[in-house]
Amino acid sequence: MNFYLLTLIKMALTALVLLTCCAYAVWVERKVLAHIQLRPGPYRVGPHGLLQPLADLIKLLTKEGIVPSYANPFFYLLAPFLAVALALTAIVVIPFTPEFELFGVRTAIGLTDLNIGILFLLALSSLGVYGIAIGGWASNNKYSLMGSLRSSAQMVSYELPLAMAIVSPLLLVNTLNLREIVELQNGFHFGLLPKWNVFASPVPQALGFVIFLIAAFAETNRVPFDLPEAESELVAGFHTEYSSMMFASFFMAEYANIITICCVATVLFLGGWHPLWPAEYGSDLVPVVLLAAAGLMLLFHAAQAARRRKWDRFTFPVFGVLLLGLAPVFLIPVLKPVLIPFFWFVAKAGFLVFVFIWIRGTLPRYRYDQLMRFAWTFLFPLSLANLLVTGLVVALAG
């Protein structure tokens, strides 16, 4: 009974946190892009635009959802549902922390502990194409159709290098369970360099990690591979006709996919919740120091006269004290074994999300044929070579 109750609570929490993260990923993206591009970004709704996601949500909820008369209504409505459902489901297999005791039950932050976690993820990401393909086709719009065709071709092509890049670290750890994969990356070379799969001992998977990231950009339709929704060519690609929450579903699916794929990269290559350097050298103190520094910075800026604007006068001290109060929580011995790994996991995944945004602010877009050529003539052979070398070395060494 306890187990079921706990799972239900965890489900609710995961859904809540993931959806909030998706919404704020949009905010973070807009802010980071804006600062790359010499502008302040969202600033009107709430302090520093912090309530912007909420405003967007209200706007999208209250808009009329239009189904074009020439669209196929069943598939037209099915597509966004499919896209968002599959994108949100993928998060269930991600383990965020090691197992711990809670009310006499062994559990972890993360919904399931599936022993075929990786296969499940690959299956879901393959199915994700359907949402886009069906949406583009059912809209009965030429731009949408082309967007969905591009997307299908792209996602199918990049699935191969993605899968190959995933298989290589699997050869090293010899399991499909994501939690075990992370646990096997424990420890440090020479007591300093973490034994993550990127730095794994027989064959470091740095190349595999790069291939995985590139393929992940294509899988999530991000710049420089954002052809399915290439604004300047296809207006908005597969979701040209969608409005209201149907559009929001596609949008949410995109960001949920980004978050998930960053989590997967963290698990597979970056050692999940393991810290960057050993705890003996004080890696446990990192969250405390970071939060305290952030809090102090906010308080310092709140004291500056130039910052005495309408919102900042109230929000800077409040957030500053909040962060300062949060810092010592990471020192509480009971919570430490959960919170510190969780922090490291979130930090790594968050950094990868930042890289996604950073790339978007930097690179132009590929052309369709170049994209396919890149996948088949460069990325695929490279991932294959990486896999073969890894396999050979593991077989010979093991």
Binding site: Q37, Y143, V223, S232, L363, Y368, D369
Partner: protein
């Protein structure tokens, strides 16, 4: 389809004849509302998958009737509508019109006004090229370059505002000189901008020039041979990117361009990348011209000594009877231009712009024909599109650098 739209019908028939047994192709109506047609251009594309097999531009969505309107305005008033043809190169348009009318009038423009005109025309060239670069990069997916370019544009618009009180529709170059006396402190504003510019251009270069994705998107794309471009009446950076170093500033210098030292960049490839290189270098050369104009700006009056054309000073008007009469005549009936016709071409950022003005001796032009570069440049569209991918059409459109107001005038 709307049955009354017969023009569209015939166009579609032309592009996609519904013949028996013919391969079925998709007809895509790109524009007039499309993110990268830069205004209201409409292109009807026939597609075989992603490959464009036929392309027909359809213009006229921004028809303003400016040519006809010019016949209903006074000579000096026409300057204001030349601004509205091309919102990125207003001062070049002003200059071209003023030069043509001044040729008819036979007015001598004092050196200071001539140098100011060169300086302003070159600033507007920088303005136009910077906006072109930003939007072109945005079309290719490089979003950040757009904002960097608009940072420079903002500085330029502030300078224009300083001169004329207007950010875009400046109408600063008038028949007989300039509209107003150059404002106090303009040298410093322009010099600050020009000093910082080369570094900014290096920044754009660093972002794009050797970026492998940008190279792949632009090199060898939308190549049209030089002969074809010349047949179609294409001018400006597009023919210079095809290997012909034709620049009216060098070929038929006007407004004392012969006194300035600058290079006309020429590339041979005639592709999108060559056009990018040419325009980027033109920004640098324009900056050089502006610097020379700043250093060697002659002293003297900023408008011609032609009382029948230029309004007299306030001071003179109040004190001298003759000036008062001229003032009264110019204001009430407008200045008169001797009968005849004139055409003085000018190198605008987009190519050759010229106003063929015909006067019957009255206070209004009898006819003003506008030879606009955008119209000529747009003629090369089908050549560039056909046989290429959709993504290339976007790159090609950007490389043409047309302004729709300039096409439909």
């Amino acid at each position: 389809m709307n049955p009354t739209d017969t023009a569209l019908d015939s166009r579609l028939q032309e592009i996609a004849p519904e013949a028996e047994g013919a391969p079925r192709r998709m007809v895509l109506n790109m524009g007039p509302q499309h993110p990268s047609t830069h205004g209201v251009l409409r292109v009807i594309l026939e597609l075989d998958g992603e490959i464009v097999t036929k392309a027909r531009p359809d213009i006229g969505f921004l028809h303003t009737g400016i040519e006809k309107q010019a016949e209903a305005l006074g000579w000096q008033q026409v300057v204001t509508i030349t601004d509205r043809m091309d919102y990125l190169a207003n001062l070049s348009n002003n200059l071209a019109y003023a030069l043509s009318v001044e040729k008819l009038l036979g007015v001598e423009i004092p050196p200071k006004a001539q140098w100011m005109r060169v300086l302003l025309a070159e600033l507007s060239r920088i303005n136009s090229h910077v906006v072109w670069l930003g939007t072109h990069a945005l079309d290719l997916g490089a979003m950040t370059v757009f904002f960097y370019c608009f940072r420079e544009r903002e500085d330029l618009l502030r300078i224009f505002e300083m001169f004329s009180g207007q950010r875009m529709m400046t109408s600063y170059i008038r028949i007989g000189g300039l509209a107003l006396e150059p404002p106090r402190g303009w040298e410093r504003a322009v010099r600050n901008f020009i000093r910082g510019l080369p570094e900014k251009v290096n920044e754009y270069e660093a972002l794009l020039k050797e970026n492998p994705i940008f190279l792949r998107r632009t090199q060898g794309v939308a190549v049209v041979p030089l002969e074809r471009l010349l047949d179609l009446g294409v001018t400006g950076p597009m023919i210079r990117a095809a290997g012909l170093g034709w620049d009216i500033r060098k070929a038929e210098p006007y407004s004392s361009y012969e006194k300035f030292d600058f290079r006309v960049p020429v590339e041979q490839e005639s592709d999108v990348y060559a056009r990018f290189l040419v325009r980027l270098e033109e920004i640098r050369q324009s900056a050089r011209i502006v610097e020379q104009a700043l250093d060697g700006m002659p002293e003297g009056p900023w408008k011609a000594d032609a009382p029948h054309v230029v309004l007299p000073d306030r001071e003179k008007m109040k004190t001298q009877m003759e000036a008062l009469i001229y003032h009264f005549k110019i204001v009430t009936e407008g200045m008169r231009v001797p009968a005849g016709e004139a055409y003085v071409p000018v190198e605008s950022p987009r190519g050759e712009i010229g106003f063929y003005v015909v006067s019957d001796g009255g206070a209004q032009p009898w006819r003003v024909f506008m030879r606009t570069p955008s119209f000529g440049n747009l003629q090369s569209l089908p050549e560039m599109f056909e046989g290429r991918l959709i993504a290339d059409t976007i790159a090609a459109l950007g490389s043409m650098d047309f302004v729709l107001g300039d096409v439909d005038r």
